[in-house]
């Protein structure tokens, strides 16, 4: 990388950071918004796909194949493909990002619900849960650890991809990297990369904590027979 840059340029000019505090703040908001909205929309679509897959099992294969195909398209290519239809900017990035979350989320939701023990489902039915109530209060609740794992992977992945998406003008930390690269100026590159890594790590930890709070029953050990 240094080959691109002037020999006497330091890796980070620290004064650049306070000078651009307002831009950094704005980029943080953009990055969070794009990540949050993509994962949220992706989750809603994946949940709908999962419910369809569970109700009509034969549809799971085709739906997973579609999600898998979307996931397999290289991110830059997908961003570029969408530009003629949705133009440069937020919308193109968001469509691409949502499509990346689908496979991870769909698989985790279905796996989580499939993992609910049959005895628990039978008991719930036998005690008179209505189907919708059982789905919400039992199946979905017990699938929480797997679903939250999916959200964690999806979110961390999307935080990385939002950085790339800056190429189509969607804002966020990637803007600094693009700017630094085009001007052969390393400071914004380091700041943009560092902040997106920090955000990814922060969300990773956050999801671990959320997981712990939501699933207190998973941290227990059985007592011996009495």
């Amino acid at each position: 990388m240094t080959g691109l840059l002037a020999a006497d340029e330091p890796l980070v000019r620290w004064q650049w950071i306070p000078d651009h505090a307002e831009e950094i703040r704005a980029a943080t908001v953009e990055h969070l918004q794009l990540t949050g909205s993509s994962v949220a929309i992706g989750f809603v679509i994946a949940m709908a796909m999962a419910m369809v897959s569970i109700r009509w099992r034969f549809l799971y294969g085709p739906l997973a194949a579609v999600a898998g195909a979307l996931y397999a398209i290289p991110s830059l290519a997908l961003f570029a493909l969408l530009v003629p239809f949705t133009g440069l900017g937020y919308r193109s990035a968001q469509i691409a990002l949502v499509s990346y979350t689908l496979l991870i989320l769909l698989r985790n939701i279905v796996a989580g619900i499939d993992g609910v023990p049959q005895a628990v489902k039978d008991a719930a039915d036998g005690m008179g849960y209505e189907p919708w109530r059982r789905f919400l209060a039992v199946d979905l609740r017990l699938a929480t650890p797997t679903i939250v794992s999916g959200l964690r992977i999806a979110t961390v992945t999307i935080i990385g991809l939002v950085t790339v998406a800056a190429l189509v003008g969607s804002g966020g930390y990637g803007t600094f990297i693009d700017d630094g690269l085009s001007r052969q100026f390393p400071t914004p590159i380091v700041v943009g990369a560092g902040l997106s890594i920090a955000m990814a790590v922060a969300f990773d930890v956050l999801f671990v904590l959320v997981q712990r709070v939501l699933t207190p029953w998973t941290r227990i050990t059985a007592s011996p027979e009495t």
Partner: protein
């Protein structure tokens, strides 16, 4: 909110008429024209080999499986007339692997059906505490998750959860097959104790004929294809099996199983060769010859002290050097206990004492075989 189950309060008898389940594509029915009466307040054990339709029959009672034809009436009312969720909330359901909700505390698990029925929080909490005590759970266990409990404790929670809304009917699907034999025996005893207080109509499915005989007031033996072989009290089944299948299924130790069902007070113990402390040796020898034995039991004030060999008698009967009887049974013990005592004692008798320790008589092998024949 009022309980929406006027039709199923108190006690409920169950009647199956022509009940049939034919699964699509199967070459014969899983349950075939089954007619059964299950009296209110009794334990009915459905037992039979794999494929006999016992679990299918059970699941038709709470409509987890819908019959192909035939009817099920609870308290004279066809089950299909009730909304299915309300029907199920009025029938307790206990299954093999407990099916406890791992994400809810033990207390919340027990309170499941009351919550579905819309009871208020205080009433649910009182009921959960009451049930915890009823099935012998420590109060602090109610706040734990089921995963922290042993298999036996989980099964107790399963029973408490099934009883929560005080349903007149309890369905139990192989409830004890996943716990080890020692815990299983204890849980079975607990169920019998519990039933003496709650008087539910309990339908229990098991593949273990000993469990069926131990727990069932009535035992229903089903054959492959849902064919009813025999439905009767355990004692009647063991005494008069209706077919070779039933006899085989009950096992070669059918006689021993009967002994486990009959109690000592169902046969008449003999007075036996006994003498009171202070009697003359002549009296003691007369008692011995009456029973053709060479030993004599020594009593004082209706208490059995022990026994002496005839040659040890000398002048007046005293209580010095008497040997205690090895096997002492009470009227509520089974004949199997008595038999076990007899074969393990030098005198070949079991001493019968009442709960206060008063001597009631002796049981010999011949008394037991006579009791079993009659």
């Amino acid at each position: 909110m009022v309980d929406r189950f006027p039709v199923m309060s108190g006690q409920a008898a169950i009647r199956l008429a022509g009940l049939t389940k034919q699964y699509p594509g199967a070459d014969r029915p899983a349950v075939d024209h089954l007619d059964l009466e299950m009296p209110a307040g009794e334990i009915v054990a459905l037992v039979g080999p794999s494929g006999c339709g016992k679990t299918t029959t059970l699941k038709m009672l709470n409509r987890l499986i819908e019959p192909t034809s035939g009817t099920i009436e609870i308290d004279g009312r066809p089950v299909h007339e009730l909304p299915v969720h309300e029907l199920r909330r009025g029938i307790g359901y206990v299954i093999q692997h407990t099916g406890l909700f791992p994400h809810k505390t033990v207390g919340a698990n027990i309170g499941t059906v009351p919550r579905l029925l819309g009871w208020d929080k205080d009433r649910i909490r009182r009921r959960v505490d009451e049930l915890g005590a009823l099935v012998g759970l420590e109060p602090e266990m109610l706040r734990r998750y089921p995963g922290a409990l042993s298999g036996g404790q989980q099964q107790r929670v399963g029973v408490a959860r099934a009883l929560a809304a005080d349903p007149p009917i309890l369905l139990m699907d192989e409830p004890y097959s996943a716990v080890d034999p020692i815990v299983r025996a204890r849980l079975q005893d607990e169920l019998l104790d519990l039933q003496r207080n709650v008087h539910k109509t309990i339908v229990l499915v098991t593949h273990d004929v000993d469990e069926a005989i131990k727990l069932g007031d009535r035992v229903v033996i089903l054959n492959v294809g849902g064919k009813l072989e025999q439905a009767d009290t355990p004692a009647e089944l063991l005494a008069n099996p209706a077919s070779d299948f039933v006899a085989d299924f009950l096992g070669e130790d059918r006689g021993l199983k009967r002994l486990a069902l009959l109690t000592v007070d169902e046969i008449v113990p003999v007075d036996g060769p006994i003498a009171e402390v202070g009697d003359s040796a002549e009296v003691a020898r007369a008692a011995m010859s009456e029973y053709h034995v060479d030993w004599v039991g020594i009593c004082r004030d209706e208490r059995m002290l022990g026994w002496l060999w005839g040659h040890e008698l000398n002048g007046t009967v005293t209580d010095t050097d008497v040997r205690p009887f090895r096997s002492i049974v009470q009227p509520t013990n089974t004949l199997r206990n008595a038999l076990d005592g007899i074969v393990n004692s030098a005198t070949n008798v079991a001493i019968v004492e009442d709960v206060d320790g008063r001597y009631r008589g002796m049981v010999r092998i011949e008394d037991i075989s006579e009791g079993v024949r009659s």
